[in-house]
């Protein structure tokens, strides 16, 4: 085995985390009165909660080496489905159940196309993305659903919080934490999770080793559909409005968060704690830049640049740091590190 320089493997594992701390530090110095306060951080967790749920369940799909591009469109569609249920006199329970069912069905469709028919995940979920979006626009005639048709207990949930002494934890934050815990347990402790990592690590070896690949990939898409549906409901509840395209930003951000998380893993595998850091980075950036009154368009540019930077740095260090000569000279010689 060739021994990699110390610094390189350190960068590989902790580079993204260090970057995150640097971002936090930066905003702290720029906005010392408002940024590093408890209310602001509670606020950040609420802002991130919806993206979090999508990113955590997306992690499961990405562990097997697939993608789900349809999650944003699914989140939008689910809002419209629940909204329509309210319009037709449905109660909260009925609307939520119907919405989650749509998520499961959409995920099953994705899984069937990818694992059953054998279409690449990219093409299949790009197709269903378009279908889901069309369905949402058609069902709603392109208009938002809002106002008095939405039961008060539904919209108050998204703004509500559980108060424990001084601290008030938003309901949405709690939901995201629940999703995080569930995905963490699934990937880390269950047979299902172990098998998913085997599929992602070496698909052929997994098949030869007796793993029922099609079934498990299918199931992972169902989970991702369910996550997208839950996120769609959370978004609907928080905004008290269902618009047929309101979930669209979620997909790219969720995938970006998982990628950021992968940079923190020794084997560059998707992992849900990494995804959490990825979501935190995106959330803190949005929060801090807004506080600094930076144009949201500029925010997008900066976010994109940071994602590319993190993934580039990580892939450089993964190649045994084939970085520029000047950087290599700063590193200890091979072998010394051992």
């Amino acid at each position: 085995m060739s021994q990699r320089p110390h610094l390189s493997s350190f960068l590989r594992r902790y580079g993204t985390l260090i970057g995150f701390l640097a971002i936090v530090l930066f905003f702290w110095t720029q906005r010392p009165q408002t940024f590093m306060t408890l209310p602001n951080w509670v606020n950040i967790t609420r802002q991130m909660s919806i993206l979090g749920v999508v990113a955590f369940t997306m992690t499961i799909v990405m562990v097997t080496g697939d993608f789900d591009l349809s999650v944003g469109a699914m989140a939008s569609l689910v809002g419209i489905v629940a909204g329509s249920a309210f319009q037709n006199g449905g109660g909260v329970g009925q609307a939520v159940a119907l919405a989650l069912l749509v998520g499961v069905a959409g995920g099953a469709l994705n899984g069937l196309l990818v694992a059953g028919v054998g279409i690449s995940a990219f093409v299949a979920t790009l197709g269903t993305l378009t279908v889901f979006r069309g369905l949402a626009l058609y069902t709603s005639s392109g208009a938002s659903i809002y106002g008095r048709v939405i039961p008060a207990e539904f919209s108050s949930f998204g703004r509500g919080a559980i108060v424990i002494g001084e601290l008030s934890i938003p309901n949405l934050t709690l939901l995201a934490a629940l999703a995080l815990a569930l995905v963490f347990v699934i990937l880390r402790f269950t047979i299902f999770g172990r098998r998913l990592y085997a599929i992602g690590g070496n698909r052929e070896a997994a098949r030869f080793g007796g793993i029922r690949i099609a079934r498990l990939r299918m199931l992972s898409f169902v989970i991702s559909g369910l996550g997208a549906a839950a996120a769609g409901l959370m978004l609907f509840s928080r905004l008290s409005t269902a618009h047929p395209t309101q979930g669209e930003g979620l997909m790219l951000q969720a995938i970006a968060a998982v990628f950021l998380g992968m940079t923190m893993n020794e084997e560059a595998q998707p992992n849900v704690l990494g995804s959490l850091v990825g979501v935190l980075i995106l959330g803190v950036l949005a929060n801090g830049l807004t506080q600094m009154q930076i144009d949201t368009y500029i925010q997008q540019i900066l976010t994109g640049v940071i994602i590319i930077l993190a993934v580039t740095l990580s892939s450089l260090s993964q190649q045994g740091l084939r970085a520029p000569e000047w950087l290599r000279r700063l590193l200890p010689e091979r072998g010394e590190a051992a």
Partner: protein, 533 residues
Amino acid sequence: MHLQIRQASKAYAGIPALIDAALDLHGGEALGLVGENGAGKSTLIKLLAGLEAPDSLEVRLNGARVTIPDSAAARRLGLRFIHQELAIVPALNVAENLFLNNPLPRIGGAFVNRAALYKLAREAMRRLGIDHIDLRQRASLLSPGDAMLVKIASAFIGADDQQQLIYIMDEPTAALNQAEAELLYAVIDRLRARGCALLVVTHRLHELFRIAQRVTVMRDGMVVNTHKITETSAGELIHEMTGSSAAHLPPAADKVKSEATDDRPLLRARYLQTDALSAASFHLRAGEIVGVAGLAGAGRSQLLQALMGIDKLRAGTIELDGEALRNPAPAVCWEQGIAYLPEERRSQGLLLGGRISHNMTLPHLGRFRRWLAMIDRRAEDRRSQQLSRSVQLRATGIQQRLRELSGGNQQKVMFARAVLAKPRLVLLDEPTRGVDVGAKRDIYRLIRELAAGGAGILLVSSELDELLALCGRILIMRNRRLVGEASTAELDERALLSLMFAGLPHLPTPSSKHQGRGAQSNKINSDARFLTA
């Protein structure tokens, strides 16, 4: 023209594949190159083609020292290659495929001159004497033989009839029928007549006597001998190819051939047919080690994959302990107590980024279930540690990642996986390939222990000494068929190799000085029970 090759050496992961090999190619002469699987022939060719960096290599062309850092350099030196793997792009048409390894004719530097492309392609095909293949046909529609001819023709693109080049062919006739092979023989004769030099690797010995003037034998990465073709015989070549590679042999004291511990047939396969295997029937008893011998491409791995449900079964039945195995699939087979160790452990077996324990338990996770869906990690770790000891794994711990282990230790992890659940039937595909001598010995011990414990073992191996030492019976495969079986009691390496090649009847009779051995192999031939011709 004279191409001198000296001191060609190459090791993969510390295991030598080619050791100080030397060859001479002369204009106007075809040199045959023969040897068992893994003798180093293909490695030598890869060095000459600039596809692999040699550990050492000295090449002189007409006395001048040259180097071959990449395939473009090989081309500039006038070397033309027909490699063993069929490198055809199915989506391109025949003419375009002919130019995969050749510079495309261009207009203005950026655009392909299609008129010139078809003209050159037509000329190359004409040189080979082929007129039945449509140049505009998509390559995906070609038969395997035609695809091979196209690949061969690509070595003749842009070669004007006067140019004296060096052609190096790695088993060019493996996929060809007799008529197609004759086309190639005629081309070889013509190239030779106009002063080209040729190096032809082949497993078909009779073809050497048709095309070659000299023949070089390789064994265990070394050049053993070179003969004038008129002064040797097939028998002598086979003898030199097998030699006595004592280093690989299991310790002599262990050389007790496994006999079935009881008569109950553990596995009965009837007329197994997949897309890559035809009509294979055989049986195997509990406690028996049965070998599968055959040349590369004979269908040995495909036989195991059919049993494991990896290749879809088109016809035939598999019975395990008297019970029919319906719709076999890897998951079902593992659950039924069939363990499988695939040929390509890196691509088909291991999770290289995964931990040792996770690799061992992969097919058996259901056994470590608790609380509905959780993994009982303590039980998993305990079992992995136990197995690490019993296969004598050298690792820092069961948490180590597979990528950091040597080839031999990786293979031991695969063995641990295979034995974890006390399998009834174990399918082993080249279990000692790329494994050092010490690990080999351990693996032989494990195989024997498994059989002694009552498991049936089907062992595919290219190492004949290994088959002979471990197995009681050997199934012989040729051209994706199971053509017969032989008891190892009456078999030596030379006789086994003869069975693997197209059979002795095709070979010229041994010359007078080897008559003794010839007589012996005839006897063995009659001992081998052939199921089909």
